[in-house]
């Protein structure tokens, strides 16, 4: 058999794999569709004939209707795009700051024993405070502008990132750190070139949850007083027994979050290029 022939055979095996992968993808999407149909269809059917349930729990068709109105005619407080932009701005700024703080503090405390011994207990105490309650304090101190919302987002985002960054830092293989140290790396170089890449999966894992909490923080911040934003939309819908409106706002948030997730996953794949493919395992 010539190299040429072998080449052909390899290509054949590979394209068979690709076909199988395609079939698999179709199956996955069909299953997802089935799940969606069962859940939403079940909801629609149980609720739709009972006007009381429709008011209290909402109904998928109603939610769709509400979404259409919002998109085509705008909401009571302005165009839908404005509301999304407001909430997203608060969530993103807070998310960025909270994540950065979480990483910096987590890595610093993970690397410097003295810091972790001194500040560890304080961070645990702060983590225990029901941070939602702090929202009111932030409004008192910083007013109803974007600052108080961003602060609320930060306190909700920070701890998740912090604990993962901290643990990720401690989990770094001691051999790598020792090797880098022996090769002449300064403490800072060890941190940036050994600890951070190695703790990276830890940090990314926390970002998924944190982004969810960033949105919660923005919404709750808007509950406490705001003129625009998805939180205001939800509050208003709740106040008028408009369950469909509440769900519609949630659907919008879910879409936003999915977009963010997609970005996080891309970042993850980019930065984890160095890993064996199987090790990365199934992707969420």
């Amino acid at each position: 058999m010539t190299a040429q022939e072998a080449q052909v055979e390899v290509t054949a095996v590979e394209s068979a794999h690709r076909r199988a992968a395609r079939r698999h993808r179709v199956l996955v999407h069909l299953t997802q569709l089935a799940v969606l149909v069962v859940v939403l269809g079940g909801w629609q059917l149980t609720v739709q004939d009972n006007p009381r349930s429709v008011i209290l729990y909402g109904v998928p068709s109603g939610i769709l209707g509400r979404l259409t109105t919002w998109v085509t005619e705008g909401t009571a407080i302005g165009s839908l795009g404005d509301q999304i932009a407001t909430t997203l701005e608060e969530a993103l700024i807070g998310f960025a700051i909270g994540t950065a703080l979480g990483i910096v503090c987590g890595v610093a405390l993970g690397r410097v024993r003295f810091l972790s011994e001194v500040f560890g207990p304080f961070i645990k105490v702060l983590n225990a405070i029901p941070r939602i309650v702090l929202g009111a304090v932030f409004v008192l101190a910083f007013g109803l502008g974007i600052e108080s919302k961003i602060l609320l987002v930060i306190v909700l985002v920070f701890f998740g990132v912090f604990f993962n960054a901290f643990q990720g830092t401690r989990e770094v293989d001691r051999n790598f750190i020792a090797n880098a140290g022996i090769l002449g790396a300064s403490r800072w170089q060890v941190t940036s070139q050994v600890v951070l890449p190695s703790a990276f999966t830890w940090i990314i894992a926390s970002l998924h949850v944190s982004f969810g909490f960033a949105l919660i923080g923005a919404i709750v911040g808007e509950f406490l007083g705001a003129t625009s934003g998805l939180g205001v939309l939800i509050k208003q819908a709740e106040g008028t027994f408009d369950a469909n409106g509440v769900w519609a706002a949630m659907v919008i948030m879910a879409v936003v979050a999915l977009a963010a997730e997609w970005l996080i996953t891309r970042l993850e794949n980019r930065l984890l290029r160095w890993r064996p493919a199987q090790l990365a395992g199934p992707d969420l």
């Binding site: 051999n175 022996i182 090769l183 790396a185 160095w274 890993r275 064996p276």
Partner: protein
């Protein structure tokens, strides 16, 4: 005493290293170990498996502290990682998220060498260890022997004044091993660092070293004997083993080593040991 002369490159004095095991009973790996390696000396360390060779190296590198006794490098007591010391670990320690060329150039880059220059000398070293063409691979894409060679290049590129090597060639085939040994000897001849070279291959030890140190079986290992290898240099590793003087030294050392290996083995297979925790 040698106090008046320039200090030796490495000096371990009455070093004891104890580990506390889970059961609480301490395990004494090394006891009262004295070892001196002079500036420019190539010292090979052999001993039964598990006797404490790697432990000795970690003490010299400053990654671990002795439980008693003192460790000094170039006359200065070791207290944390010692600059100018290279250490090739027994296990993989190259960084998995850096490609081969980035791994090899890491040392110079850490020390502030400009990127271009560092990459150039890294490529040179990669070629010297026989990995040309694999510069952009990540460690998981390399075979075991290739990873060892990356680690070798990574350490040698720094031209350390003291080199500690823990079974650096154990995953290599005989031929590559010989070539790596020649490479190592050439470098050593050039800059004359002090080398501590742990190996299980007695021929390799004798072919490379000025002195061969035999450790006793653990626990509480210490130095059993120290042999001078007065074969002429430069040596060609593949040929020297047919030298009659070589065979002579080989048999001397082998006698010393064999008793220790036998002790180690019989100790750890004694049936009455079966029920003891340590």
């Amino acid at each position: 005493m040698r106090a008046e002369k320039s200090p030796p490159a490495i000096e371990l004095r009455r070093v004891t290293k104890r580990f506390t095991t889970d059961s609480g009973a301490p395990y004494t790996a090394l006891r009262d170990l004295d070892l001196t390696v002079d500036e420019g000396e190539f010292c090979a360390v052999v001993g039964p498996t598990g006797c404490g060779k790697s432990t000795t190296l970690t003490l010299v590198s400053g990654l671990e502290r002795p439980s008693a006794g003192s460790v000094a490098v170039h006359g200065r007591p070791v207290d944390g990682i010692t600059p100018g010391v290279g250490f090739m670990f027994q296990t993989d320690a190259i960084l998995p998220w850096k490609s081969v060329v980035d791994n090899v150039s890491a040392g110079p880059r850490f020390r502030g060498v400009p990127k271009k220059e560092a990459l150039e000398s890294a490529r040179d070293w990669i070629r010297r260890v026989g990995l040309a063409g694999f510069e952009d691979r990540f460690p998981h894409q390399l075979s075991g022997g290739m990873r060892k060679r990356v680690a070798l290049a990574q350490n040698l590129i720094n031209e350390p004044r003291v080199i500690l090597m823990d079974e650096p060639f154990s995953a290599l085939d005989v031929q590559t091993r010989a070539k790596m040994s020649d490479e190592l000897l050439a470098l050593w001849d050039l800059t004359r660092p002090a080398v501590v070279f742990v190996t299980h291959d007695l021929e390799e030890a004798i072919a490379l070293a000025d002195t061969v140190v035999v450790l006793t079986a653990g626990p509480a290992a210490t130095i059993k004997a120290r042999f001078r290898v007065d074969l002429p240099r430069p040596r060609v590793v593949q040929e020297i083993r047919f030298d009659p003087r070589f065979l002579d030294i080989y048999h001397q050392i082998w006698d010393a080593l064999r008793t220790e290996v036998d002790i180690a083995y019989s100790q750890s297979t004694r049936l009455d040991d079966d029920r003891r925790a340590s």
